[in-house]
């Protein structure tokens, strides 16, 4: 694996940000007719974590999967095609935004049932171990997902079998409109609960992509060399509404002020300023990166929008694998 540079991390975060802002811009046209869960504000976790993986490694995700998919190397056109319900989508349109997959990138799937990919990811790790492959599996999950019983079952098994799996928990403090305090005991940190299972467990700044990268890289290396699973909790913040393209700080479940505080800690801007300050990149480099990304995204959007819908015969296809 080539070493990952701060510039890479920046480019990947910005790409995701721009893709999702484009989705937010186009969504009201009602041509993407499926629920979308944007990760704007949370890009550092996706990018930092996936940067620590090799292509052959596996990742699994949730309803909020765009960033994970793209960070792992998923095909942008196929993702947008899927959101647009077109046959060029990564699931031929059958899945929609919440069911992204790109096997060639090692992104094995996202599903919207909270917690359900946790044991599936652990199972993939178990499978690779049985097959004696030196792959690592990374499982993305939200803070809400840690409340599902299946989290407990999956982590117990991962520890029992010392599986090559890294759990990356994006703690954005909310499950839809519900804040942590109506769901989990006060002052009990998620990573501490996880530690109770007997696995290494850390907390990191989810808006600092290099911190995410560093912690994940160590966990991935440990996993690859037989050291077993690690649990990583990253606190971060979702800027937009839970599902859909809008902001919703006015509706009452969280405060504008809280949002502004987190916005000030924007992971993309933060790294950008750092790059500039450290003289690693000049403003014109940044402009160049951005311009290239915008072109790429425009092309992908046009591709998706002009792709055909699946023919009716496809309805009956794929009930069973041959």
């Amino acid at each position: 694996m080539d070493p990952v540079t701060p510039r890479d991390l920046y480019g990947r975060m910005l790409r995701i940000r721009l893709v999702e802002e484009k989705i937010a811009e186009l969504y009201p046209e009602q041509q993407m007719r499926c629920p979308v869960h944007l990760s704007i504000g949370q890009e550092a976790v996706a990018v930092g974590a996936c940067a620590a993986l090799a292509i052959k490694d596996y990742a699994f995700s949730t309803h909020r999967s765009h960033a994970h998919y793209l960070a792992k190397g998923g095909n942008l056109k196929a993702m947008l095609g899927e959101l647009y319900g077109r046959v060029t989508g990564c699931c031929l349109g059958k899945g929609g935004s919440m069911h992204l997959i790109d096997r060639s990138a090692g992104f094995l799937g996202a599903v919207p049932i909270v917690g359900s990919t946790i044991p599936i990811g652990v199972g993939a790790a178990f499978g690779t171990l049985l097959r004696k492959e030196r792959r690592v599996t990374l499982v993305f999950l939200g803070d809400g997902a840690t409340e599902e019983g299946v989290f407990h079952e999956a982590v117990n098994f991962a520890v029992l079998k010392r599986l090559p799996v890294v759990f990356v928990c994006e703690n954005n403090f909310f499950s839809v409109y519900s804040s942590l305090d109506v769901r989990q005991p006060p002052a009990r940190e998620i990573y501490e609960m996880a530690r109770g299972y007997g696995l290494e467990s850390h907390q990191g700044d989810g808006n600092d992509v290099e911190a995410v990268y560093g912690l994940t890289k160590a966990a991935v290396e440990k996993a690859r060399t037989g050291g077993g699973p690690t649990f990583l909790e990253f606190k971060t913040y979702r800027w937009r509404e839970h599902c859909g393209p809008h902001y919703d700080n006015h509706v009452g479940y969280r405060s504008e002020q809280e949002f502004e505080e987190w916005k000030a800690r924007c992971p993309v801007t933060r790294l950008k300023q750092q790059l500039l300050q450290q003289g690693l990149l000049a403003q014109e480099d940044l402009d160049g990166i951005e311009a290239a990304l915008i072109r790429e995204i425009e092309t992908a959007v046009v591709f998706a929008q002009s792709s055909p819908f699946p023919e009716p015969q496809l309805l009956g296809a794929h009930l069973y694998a041959p």
Binding site: P28, Q30, R33, C34, P35, V36, G85, R86, G89, C91, G93, K94, G95, G96, S97, M98, H99, V111, P112, I113, V114, G115, G144, A145, E147, E148, G149, V150, S175, V176, Y177, S178, S179, V182, R183, Q184, C243, G244, D248, V251, G252, Y253, F309, P310, P312, L314, L315, G316, L319
Partner: protein
């Protein structure tokens, strides 16, 4: 006094009324108090009125929280639990099927289980294979459960009150395309008995037995059939378990023809039960083979391009009826059907996402 209310308002009113009458009633579900939309409006303002103990959020722990509801019911509470998608309740099938459904029977009648579990089903807006399944058959198969699917605002209120007052676990299924429909709803307390069907439209030529949202599509179909002189009787079953078999059989004996319409999978679905019941009990009254209109036995696809071929609507029901009469299929064009909204939204006002 009866006024027109929306379906979600009827549910809200029923909940409010039950909570006001009986302090042991409480409401819980993910985001119930926090959701600014108030769970399709059904829970709006209730926490303010009844406090955080009686209108509560919960951890994302469907199985455990179903157990919590069951345990609280055993000691005298009357929980109403709500799942915004029936798929989430699949995590709790053990508690619902092994525990809630059996508890009264297996303890020899000593344990009442007053528990209502509201589950939402639906379709549209690309919710896809894990967010738009209609799994009523799984629950309706289980003795010890009661399963209701109200269609009208009147029944939404009356059945919810009946469910809350029932000493047994009641699965109360709401189709997301019904929450915004209007209809007359009496004020105050009344119940619609669980286990009684309703003739939504009388007719003499064919009996259409339908569930939930498909009752509305069946009524549309019945309107269209009139043009060909066919008078369809539409039965809204309301309860899948207990099933009002007498009501269905009486109608079929009169009409001699049966079409069962259900917005779920075909095989081993509710429509199969209706056909089996009729074939077994009043075979001699049938003038022709009974038929089913259902979703095909496939996962529910996300893209509207495929979903429009997945979910049955009026035209399919018209053709189902016609097939029981040996008449050829007709198209929507021939029927003069024009869709004013895309097929994947319930009404013009809806702009997604669900």
């Amino acid at each position: 006094m009866t006024r027109d209310l929306k379906y979600f308002q009827a549910i809200h009113e029923a909940t409010d009324l039950c909570m006001a009458r009986d302090p042991s009633v409480y409401l819980m579900g993910l985001h119930v108090p926090a959701d600014p939309k108030g769970i399709f409006g059904t829970a709006l303002g209730l926490q303010k009125k009844y406090g955080p103990d009686r209108v509560m959020d919960m951890p994302t722990s469907e199985n455990g929280m179903t157990g919590v509801a069951i345990g609280s019911a055993l000691v005298g509470m009357r929980p109403i639990m709500v799942h915004q998608r029936i798929e989430f309740a699949l995590l709790a099938v053990e508690q619902i099927v092994n525990q809630a459904a059996n508890w009264h029977y297996m303890f020899g009648g000593q344990a009442a289980m007053p528990l209502v579990i509201r589950m939402m089903i639906g379709r549209g807006w690309g919710q896809g294979p894990q967010h738009s399944q209609s799994l009523q058959a799984m629950f309706a198969h289980v003795p010890g459960l009661k399963v209701v699917m109200p269609v009208t605002p009147h029944d939404a209120k009356g059945l919810l009150i009946a469910a809350v007052e029932d000493n047994n676990p009641v699965i109360y299924l709401e189709h997301r395309w019904l929450h915004n429909i209007f209809g007359p709803v009496p004020e105050g307390h009344y119940t619609v008995p669980i286990g009684k069907a309703r003739t939504a439209r009388p007719g003499r030529d064919v009996t259409i037995v339908a569930t939930s949202y498909m009752v509305l599509e069946s009524l549309r179909a019945a309107d269209l059939l009139v043009r060909d002189g066919i008078e369809a009787e539409v039965i809204d079953v309301r309860s899948l378990r207990p099933l009002d078999t007498g009501h269905i059989l009486e109608s079929v004996q009169r009409t001699g023809r049966l079409l069962a319409v259900d917005g779920a999978w075909r095989s081993l679905g509710f429509a199969a039960e209706v056909l089996a019941l009729v074939a077994e009990q009043v075979y001699g009254s049938l003038k022709a083979g009974p038929k089913r209109v259902t979703c095909p036995d496939l996962p529910s696809p996300s893209t509207p391009a495929l979903a429009q071929h997945f979910y049955p609507r009026a035209v399919h029901i018209v053709n189902g009826v016609r097939s029981t009469m040996g008449l050829p299929e007709v198209t929507e064009e021939q029927l003069g059907i024009q869709h004013e909204t895309p097929l994947d939204v319930p009404d013009k006002a809806f702009t997604g996402p669900f």
